[in-house]
C-alpha cells in the first residue's frame, strides 16, 4: 500500500482530558511512499488535513517538517474515486456505487459514465464527507449484450471502472482505478491481475475462485511498494544484483484467446542505449488452475552515438560481455501464530525437502540445492493455501527463501515468505 509524505503547513493542537492532545494537521503532499514517487495530478498544490490524538505533540512536528501518513490516512487522497463493486459476474443488471471520497473543491466535478459505446452523466450527491452516485446497469445495457464488458467512470482526471465478466467463461479485460491500470484474466478456476507499470509486469493478485481467496493478499496497513511483500515478479540481474526489471514499466502488447487458453502479453525497454528489451506472456489454461509464464530478454541493436564512437577507447571482447541471471520471486503472507506454518517444498538429490524459516529476517540460500526436478511448492498450512511452480529443471535453478517481519509488533511469527 502506498502513503503520502507531506510538508506540514499548520498544526492545531488542543489538550484533551487524560493527558493527550488532539492535533489537526494541514499538509501539502510532496511524494508517494515508499518509492517517493511524484504525487498524483489531483493532489498537486493542494493542502489536505488529518487528525491524530497523541500523548506528545512533538511527535507530529511543526510547520515545515515532513510527515508520513499511514496507508489508511492516505487512502482517500490517493484513491479518491472508488467503485463498488469493481467486478461483477454473470449479470448486466444491478447497481454500482461510485464514491468520491475527497475532492479539492466543495463542488464535485461532473461524473461521466462510459459504457456500451455511450456516455452519460451522473450526479454526485453529498453524503457525509464524501459524494456518491448510484448507477443502474439497466440504464446502460439492454441485457442482450455479451460479456465481458466495462463501465468506466471519469471524474475530472480521476478514472475507475467496474468490469463485468461472465460467471465462468474465460475472459480478459483491462481494469482502471486511481492507482492505475491493471489487466484481469478470469476463468472458472482463477482470477489474476497483472500490473505493468513496474517490475516488468508482475502478478499482483491471484484469486482462487472456489474459496474466493487471494493467494497474494497483503496487509492493507503497511506502506509497501507494489510487489514489496506479495505477488509474482521476474528479476533480471546484471552482475551482483542490479535488477533491471525493478524500474521497468511495460506496455500491453495484446491479449487473446487461443487454443483453450487466455493469453496476456507485455513488452518493454530495459535499456534503450544498449538495445535491451523484454517481453512477458501470462497464459491461463481453461481446464486447469495453471498459468504459464514466458519471459524473454532480447538483445537488439545498440543505439549508435557517433560522438561516443569517435571517443571510444580500445576495448577487449570481455568489455562487451554482460553477466545476466534470470530469476523469479514470489512472495506471500506467512502463516502467523504458533505451530508449523509457511514452508517451501522441493526435491534435493531425490529426497523431498522442506524448508521452513521461523526467525525474523531469516534467509536461506543454498548454492548446492538445485531444483533439477523442476518444481517447488510454497505451502501455507494454517490457511490451507499452496502454490506450485513448475519450470525447466535441466538448468537446475537454485532455491532461496526468506522470512521478513511485518508491522504486527506483538504477535509472532507473522511475516512474509519469499521464495526465489
Amino acid at each position: 500500500m502506498n502513503a503520502i509524505l507531506g510538508c506540514i503547513e499548520s498544526v492545531d493542537c488542543r489538550a484533551l482530558e487524560g493527558g493527550t492532545y488532539r492535533t489537526e494537521i494541514k499538509l501539502k503532499p510532496r511524494c508517494v511512499m515508499p518509492e517517493r514517487k511524484q504525487i498524483p495530478e489531483w493532489l498537486k498544490g493542494q493542502v489536505i488535513s488529518i487528525t491524530r490524538v497523541v500523548p506528545d505533540p512533538r511527535e507530529i512536528g511543526a510547520p515545515g517538517d515532513s510527515i508520513v501518513l499511514t496507508p489508511s490516512e492516505s487512502s482517500k487522497y490517493l484513491l479518491p474515486l472508488v467503485v463498488t463493486p469493481p467486478l461483477l459476474r454473470a449479470t448486466l443488471r444491478g447497481q454500482i456505487l461510485v464514491s468520491l471520497r475527497w475532492w479539492k473543491d466543495k463542488k464535485p466535478p461532473e461524473l461521466e459514465v462510459r459504457a456500451n459505446g455511450r456516455v452519460r452523466r451522473a450526479k454526485l450527491s453529498k453524503k457525509g464527507h464524501e459524494h456518491e452516485a448510484v448507477v443502474n446497469l439497466e440504464d446502460l445495457f439492454s441485457g442482450s449484450e455479451s460479456l465481458p464488458a466495462e463501465v468506466l467512470f471519469e471524474c475530472d482526471k480521476l478514472r475507475a471502472s467496474c468490469t463485468l465478466f461472465a460467471e465462468d467463461a474465460p475472459a480478459f479485460r483491462r481494469a482502471v482505478s486511481a492507482g492505475g491500470e491493471s489487466w484481469v484474466v478470469t476463468n472458472r478456476w482463477i482470477e489474476f491481475r497483472v500490473i505493468a507499470d513496474t517490475n516488468g509486469a508482475g502478478i499482483a493478485s491471484l484469486v482462487e475462485r472456489g474459496r474466493n481467496v487471494d493467494h497474494f493478499s497483503h496487509p492493507e496497513d503497511l506502506i509497501q511498494g507494489r510487489f514489496g511483500l506479495s505477488g509474482h515478479i521476474d528479476q533480471l540481474l546484471f552482475g551482483w544484483g542490479d535488477d533491471k526489471l525493478a524500474e521497468t514499466s511495460m506496455s500491453s502488447s495484446g491479449a487473446r484467446r487461443e487454443g483453450g487458453t487466455t493469453r496476456l502479453s507485455f513488452a518493454g525497454t530495459l535499456d534503450k542505449g544498449k538495445g535491451l528489451r523484454t517481453t512477458v506472456s501470462y497464459t491461463a489454461l481453461d481446464t486447469l488452475p495453471l498459468i504459464t509464464i514466458q519471459r524473454e530478454l532480447l538483445f537488439c541493436d545498440e543505439e549508435k552515438d557517433d560522438k561516443k564512437e569517435a571517443e571510444k577507447k580500445p576495448s577487449e571482447p570481455v568489455d562487451g560481455m554482460a553477466a545476466v541471471s534470470m530469476q523469479f520471486r514470489a512472495a506471500w503472507r506467512a502463516d502467523g501464530g504458533p505451530g508449523p506454518g509457511s514452508r517451501v517444498l522441493a526435491v534435493e538429490n531425490g529426497r523431498l525437502r522442506s524448508i521452513r524459516c521461523v526467525r525474523e529476517n531469516e534467509s536461506v540460500r543454498y548454492n548446492t540445492f538445485r531444483l533439477f526436478d523442476g518444481w517447488v511448492i510454497a505451502e501455507h498450512p494454517h490457511r490451507c493455501e499452496c502454490m506450485m511452480y513448475l519450470f525447466d529443471g535441466s538448468q537446475g535453478p537454485q532455491i532461496a527463501t526468506s522470512l521478513n517481519a511485518s508491522a504486527t509488533w506483538h504477535t509472532l511469527p507473522c511475516g512474509f515468505l519469499k521464495a526465489i
Binding site: 502513503a3 497523541v54 512533538r58 515532513s66 501518513l69 514452508r343 522442506s354 524459516c357 517481519a405
Partner: protein, 406 residues
C-alpha cells in the same frame, strides 16, 4: 598501579541525519558537515556508514563532557538544519538497514596485555551497559521482540560477543563488545552500547562506564574466565538484548536483576566517579531508569504500539527525539516495569528450539544466544534426544527439523 593513566573518557556517537523526504543523508554528503564541525571544535569528528560520528575528544571531567556534548550537538543540529536536515539519534532505523552506537572510550591505556586481562574481567559487565543503553527495538526486518536488535544481531558485525583471550596467545580482533584498542587512541572501547537518543543519558552512561572501568583497572593481574562464567556472560548478553533494564542476570551462582547490579556498580565506582568530577547524584536519569526498569527502547516500543508501519514510526520517532529530552521526560512519567525472569534451562532450550523450523541449518542455533560450539552441540543433542527435533546429516551440513507432537 591502575591500568589507566591519566584517566580520561570519551564517546564516538553515531547519529543519522535525515532530510524532509525522510531519507538518511549518505556518507558523502555528511563529510561536509563532519569537516565543518571538526574545524570549529578541533575534535576528531568524522563519518561512519550514513552517520555523523561525533567523536568528542579527550575528556577528564564530567562537566567538561556535558558541556562538550551540548555544544557539539547544538552546532551540528544548526548546521544540518541550514540544508533542511535534522539529526536522528537512535540505535536503529525502523526501515533502513542501519545500526548505530555510542561507543565509549576509556583512557588512557598503553599496556595491551593488561587491557586483555581487563577485557576478561569486563566481559560480565558488558551486558549491563548493553541493557542500560538498549535503544533498537525496531530495525530493518525486525519488529519489537527485542529491546536491542543491534546487540542481538551483532550490529552487522560491529559489536560481537568476545572470546576469552590470553595476551600471550591471541591476536587483536576488531569489533568486540568491549576490548582494548590501543592501536589508535590508547583506550579500552565499549562498543556494545546502542546509540543514545538523550544527551543527558549519554553523558551519564559514558561517565559511569568510564568510572567503573577505571575502578576495575585497579586490578591488572591475570584473569581467566571459567566456562560457567563465560556461558553466563552470553546468557546475560541475550537477556540484556531481550529485556533491557527488565533483565535478570545470572550472577555469581544466583539470579540478580540488572538494576541491582547497576546499583552495586555505582557504589563500587564512587571514588572513580569523584576522580572524574562526578557524584552519584549527578546520575539522576540513570537512577530513575533503575527505579522504573525502563530504557530508551521502551519509549520506542510504546510509539510502535500506535504506529504499526515502520515508515510512520521512523517519522514520529525522529521528531520526538529532536529535542533530546523526550526520553528524560518519558522515564520520569512512566510507571515502573516488572523484572523479567532469568532464563532457566528450559527457557534456554526453548530459545534454541524456536530457531528451528524445517531444514534449518544447525549453525543457525549458534546465533540463538551465541553460546560456544560445544554447548550448542550439547543442546542439539538434548533436543534430538527429547525428540523435539529431527537431525539429518546432508552434504550441506546438519539439518534440523522441528518434530510436532500431536
Amino acid at each position: 598501579m591502575n591500568a589507566f593513566s591519566p584517566r580520561t573518557f570519551s564517546t564516538d556517537w553515531e547519529i543519522m541525519v535525515i532530510d524532509r523526504l525522510e531519507r538518511c543523508a549518505d556518507t558523502e554528503k555528511l563529510l561536509a558537515f563532519a569537516g565543518a564541525l571538526r574545524s570549529e571544535f578541533d575534535l576528531p569528528i568524522q563519518v561512519d556508514w550514513n552517520t555523523l560520528e561525533l567523536a568528542l575528544g579527550i575528556n577528564s571531567q564530567f562537566d567538561q563532557f556535558v558541556q562538550r556534548v551540548r555544544s557539539v550537538t547544538d552546532r551540528a543540529a544548526q548546521l544540518v538544519r541550514e540544508l533542511g536536515l535534522e539529526l536522528y539519534p537512535a540505535g536503529s532505523h525502523p526501515v533502513e538497514p542501519m545500526y548505530n552506537s555510542s561507543h565509549i572510550h576509556i583512557g588512557t591505556l598503553h599496556d595491551e596485555g593488561k587491557g586483555i586481562y581487563l577485557e576478561s574481567r569486563l566481559m560480565r559487565y558488558a551486558p549491563v551497559f548493553g541493557a542500560i543503553a538498549a535503544n533498537s527495538p525496531f530495525a530493518h526486518g525486525f519488529a519489537g521482540q527485542y529491546k536491542s536488535y543491534r546487540i542481538r544481531d551483532n550490529a552487522h558485525g560491529c559489536t560481537r560477543p568476545q572470546s576469552a583471550r590470553d595476551p600471550r596467545l591471541s591476536q587483536f580482533t576488531w569489533g568486540g563488545d568491549a576490548s582494548p584498542k590501543v592501536y589508535s587512541a590508547p583506550t579500552l572501547e565499549v562498543r556494545i552500547t546502542d546509540c543514545a537518543s538523550s544527551r543527558r543519558l549519554l553523558a551519564e552512561l559514558v561517565v559511569f562506564t568510564a568510572a567503573f572501568v577505571h575502578w576495575l583497572g585497579e586490578n591488572t593481574s591475570e584473569y581467566r574466565l571459567s566456562e560457567t562464567e563465560y556461558i553466563d556472560c552470553m546468557t546475560n548478553r541475550w537477556s540484556a538484548a531481550k529485556h533491557g533494564m527488565q533483565a535478570t542476570f545470572l550472577w555469581d551462582g544466583t539470579e540478580r536483576p540488572v538494576v541491582e547490579i547497576i546499583d552495586e556498580m555505582l557504589d563500587q565506582s564512587a571514588a572513580s566517579l569523584a576522580a572524574l568530577g562526578a557524584d552519584r547524584k549527578d546520575l539522576a536519569l540513570l537512577q530513575t531508569m533503575i527505579e522504573k526498569r525502563r530504557c530508551q527502547a521502551d519509549l520506542v516500543l510504546d510509539l510502535g504500539k500506535r504506529y504499526r508501519d515502520p515508515y510512520c514510526l521512523a517519522s514520529v520517532h525522529s521528531k520526538l527525539v529532536r529535542d533530546w529530552d523526550a526520553f528524560d521526560n518519558y522515564v520520569v512519567s512512566s510507571a515502573p516495569l516488572d523484572p523479567a525472569p532469568a532464563p532457566d534451562r528450559e527457557r534456554i532450550l526453548n530459545e534454541h528450539l524456536s530457531v528451528v523450523g524445517e531444514g534449518t541449518h544447525f549453525y543457525n542455533l549458534r546465533n540463538a544466544m551465541y553460546y560456544p560450539p560445544t554447548l550448542v552441540d550439547e543442546l542439539i543433542e538434548t533436543l534430538a534426544g527429547d525428540q523435539l527435533v529431527h537431525v539429518e546429516n546432508t552434504c550441506r551440513g546438519m539439518l534440523l527439523s522441528r518434530v510436532e507432537k500431536s
